[in-house]
Symmetry: C2
Subunit: 459 residues, 2 copies
Amino acid sequence: MPDSFPLPVFTEDAPLYDQLYRHIAAAIQSGTLSPGSKLPSKRRLCALAGVSMSTVETAYSLLAAEGYVLAKPRSGYVCADLLPPAPAAPASVPEAAPVPTPKWAYDCSTSAVDTSAFPFSSWARITKEAVYENPGLLQRGSPQGDAPLRTALAELLAQYRGVRCSPEQVVVGAGADYLLSLLLQLLPEQKAIALEDPGYPAAYAAASLHGREAVPIPVDSEGMCPEALEKSAAGLAYVVPSHQFPMGVTMPAGRRSRLLHWAASAPNRWLIEDDYDSEFRYSSRPIPALQGLDRAGRVVYMGTFSRSIAPAIRVAYMILPPELLERYRATFSHGACTVSRFEQESLRRFLAQGLYGRHLRRTGNLYRKKCALFAGALEEIPGVTVSGADAGLHFLVTLPRFSEGELVARAAAKSVGIHPLSRYCHAVEAKPSTMVLGFAGLTETELGKAAALLKEAWT
Amino acid sequence: MPDSFPLPVFTEDAPLYDQLYRHIAAAIQSGTLSPGSKLPSKRRLCALAGVSMSTVETAYSLLAAEGYVLAKPRSGYVCADLLPPAPAAPASVPEAAPVPTPKWAYDCSTSAVDTSAFPFSSWARITKEAVYENPGLLQRGSPQGDAPLRTALAELLAQYRGVRCSPEQVVVGAGADYLLSLLLQLLPEQKAIALEDPGYPAAYAAASLHGREAVPIPVDSEGMCPEALEKSAAGLAYVVPSHQFPMGVTMPAGRRSRLLHWAASAPNRWLIEDDYDSEFRYSSRPIPALQGLDRAGRVVYMGTFSRSIAPAIRVAYMILPPELLERYRATFSHGACTVSRFEQESLRRFLAQGLYGRHLRRTGNLYRKKCALFAGALEEIPGVTVSGADAGLHFLVTLPRFSEGELVARAAAKSVGIHPLSRYCHAVEAKPSTMVLGFAGLTETELGKAAALLKEAWT
């Protein structure tokens, strides 16, 4: 037994055996007690440390159980050969993420929604009922999402969007980005993905994260250009036909037919139809989804409640055509749905009790007013053209008198935050002097003030 | 104007303009009205169809807006050239997913948990409060999860698991499988991933879905074998040190040191520590996490509430070392967290109000009793050895008298469902005649009956 055995000083409030155990473990890890050296006998340590036999026995058995010491017959406990601790990394305590300080007095980004109309008391009541009345929901559910919610979604989409599907084709997941990632995992053979240019940044990010080539396809006044798609090597195309992001154009029937024809005219071609904000149209009725026109089973329809209810509600869905549904079941049948079953049940009740329809009407009216107010005020600025304002939660403003950079800088000088169109462009040149303005997150009063400031900035 | 213009029959309850619009759109899509053919003048159609001018005007403007017809100067409306509808796919209405009928009277699978102790009334109250008291949570939150929950998790893990991290390193996501997928997207350079063999099937599935090579590393009585890991080409190793799945072994300190040394001794090496059921230990205290011993910043710690609370609660977390946190922020800073912010806030309250600790004590006692009862009853069967029963929600049973297939078949004949160990094996031979038995989802009475049936089956 080494005379130099480092005796503990018992100071803490913790049990003595635990302090003794941690003291010896630390000495072994640091090398103070070298590999192969013997620990004092239990009796000896009792005397040295002034603790009871049971304290020593407990500490030694913990050390043995965790591999710090080995029990050798007739020689007691021997320190294990722990490799020296790995070299310390350069001291790098992670910095706190930059707190998103509001940089602008008026932020016209496109990701916010109006939550003033959110029915808090109904949602709170529903979530409580969903927990109370459904103890069975605690266990693991279907990876596709629970059947009652999928049935409600299939009915909703048939009624409002002309989507034709059975509840079996619905896959529920925690957000559209998550579902897009899932879909790319289902389609490993798709090495090149056609994306709208300008287009939704998260779709470009998803392609890159899954190691696929993003093929930018120009967008014209009718949406994705079919000539460029047909010439490309892509077998998978991601389109937003009902209100393209960010251009705001709606794809007419002829273009839709042509895209469907492209998808059906060779094997292993697929269209992803992202219908992210189709709930809000102001100047005409919603145009039925591409999916409803698809006779060849080539369209994956995607939608989300993050705009029509709130970004905090992480529920999105996709409708898989039969061939992809088979693949999905073969691949993901053992997983769990990423949406809490209580939240699925809350949403189902929200739909079934007519609260969703009422909420859509209220927010639709709010957005219609906001859109008209903001677009109308901006159109009073000499030279301004507004486009894409007949649907969704954003529109475009073009003012040729200034360059894109000047428009952003002049707005910023008045503390109005806006994104230039070029931010969403990849291979194409952005339409000059054009801004993308979201209006959903600002109140009517704020929109009036923001428009007045932009008028000062841009005249 | 063609004389053959197909007149609509107005029968439905829908507005006349809508019936007229859909009638003509369908005729154009089906080819009954050929491309380039002219529609009747508005006045003519009024007379023919017996409807008002405004009905015809609305229908025609919808058709024009959606691209079915083109307005030609001085010749009225002309049908657009829609490509013929794509060929119909072979009739393939998706079959309903097979309803998971209970195949066994007693199902000893490893995925169920005991939900009898779930505090429904507290959880219902908390979820309601979380909605009512936090209107701000409707807007988009941090992609990593909200700071108050991350702070609570960092404290919980420091206290119970010896994890050392700042709240900034915590990433919250909808399930461990989702977070593993995210991590693989962050580590595209890792082409080969070392996985425990036998091991967790979802980890093998994740590697395959992300196009990586799964490198099976044998598991011995101390967990993943370091010799095989060191010889492999893998730079990323996925380990379950606290209660290996399915072998149930706990990795001792020496083995932990050696794995940390492996990770620290070359650049771009990482350990994923999955601590999925560390909350439940019966015969000794929990062993601190590998992450807490890591001086080189090479360990990603992962945990989940799907076992400690319920599978329905889709909240998991990972602790990123500083270098991966930087990558994460560069890659995912624009996304949204996959867990609803209301659910994040509910969980934070559940932790802060001491309800989680109480729930763990209650379920820990339940599982301890169930484990002892079931393992004890099975050990009475002549020749049976139980292993891995000092932690978690499953253990292993070995009975050399029968082959693996015989053990499964004889249990099935008594309507007891069990999984053979070979189900989790890849390159290694399974330990012969060994079963993996979960006990969490059955009541004590059911466990007693299942054990009696297995005794009949196996003697």
